[in-house]
Amino acid sequence: MKILKIFIILILSIGFSNLKSDEKNDELKNKILKNIRCLICQGQSVHDSESEFSSSIKLIVDRKINEKLKEEQIYEFLREKYGDWIIYEPKLNKNTYILWLLPLLLFLIGGAIIYKKNNIQK
């Protein structure tokens, strides 16, 4: 009887852990698909699009996740095939550094102006 109980608990825990890993994979898949641009219907992400291209990309992402590739490796695979533009979040490189650094620069300039004004008022 005791052995049977242990066996049932073991089976259930294996089942739950599989469910959990499936859930994790689905979450990761959705996250990745929302960050990929559909190149056919360019205003939509692959996640929201039903185009032929998007359905193929969904299959590829699914396959890559099952092959245990990490999120960044999947983006890299797609970048290699289609260029940086396919990913919504651009990578920091010589073409995008202004995009990344400009908000920080504006924030610093704004901060400096406010600091200076406050000092003058005092």
């Binding site: 360019q42 291209f53 359905s55 193929s56 990309i57 299959l59």
Partner: protein
């Protein structure tokens, strides 16, 4: 003095915005991926259109010649317009045409080939479109030139025309 400086900064800022928007509006609003570097052909296994057996990419591209990979489907209207040009290209001895049948119904695809002729040395099947993604394609028709080192050196989006055929002939000479 301070006022003049502010006006100057505003003018510079507005000119900057104008240039950015003017350039942006002149750019085409659709993106087409470009081939920056020569890429290796993907390693894959695909079903043969005629025999139904599985072939690997090494076997398909085994000869030391140029290959043209053409993605086509029987439901694709532009594929019909480019088909006679592919038939002409097939006469070129220095290249081998590989057809990649994209998300198609096999009997419709066979009817298409029977009706318009078969320009391909080999046709492989891409039922779910994932093989096309491996090639970096996103639509149909698309045509790729693969050099003797098994690298993709050029790709053409959409149906090929006479100018493209001449370009292909020039590259593969």
């Amino acid at each position: 003095m301070k006022n003049k400086f502010s006006v100057f900064v505003i003018i510079i800022f507005l000119s900057f915005c104008f240039v950015i928007f003017y350039k942006g509006l002149n750019n085409p609003n659709t993106y087409s991926p470009k081939i920056k570097d020569k890429k290796n052909i993907p390693i894959f296994e695909a079903k043969d259109f005629n025999s139904g057996s599985y072939l690997n990419s090494e076997k398909i591209f085994e000869e030391d010649i140029f290959y043209i990979v053409n993605i086509w489907a029987s439901w694709c209207v532009p594929c019909r317009t480019e088909h006679p040009l592919l038939m002409k290209l097939n006469k070129n001895q220095s290249v081998k045409l590989i057809g990649l049948n994209y998300k198609d119904n096999l009997s419709n695809a066979k009817k298409f080939i029977d009706e318009f002729g078969n320009p391909y040395s080999q046709i492989i099947i891409d039922n779910d479109g994932t093989l096309s993604v491996e090639f970096g394609a996103y639509g149909v028709p698309e045509t790729f030139i693969i050099d003797k080192n098994k690298k993709i050196i050029k790709k053409f989006l959409g149906p090929i025309n006479k100018e493209i055929v001449e370009e292909i002939k020039l590259i593969t000479k």
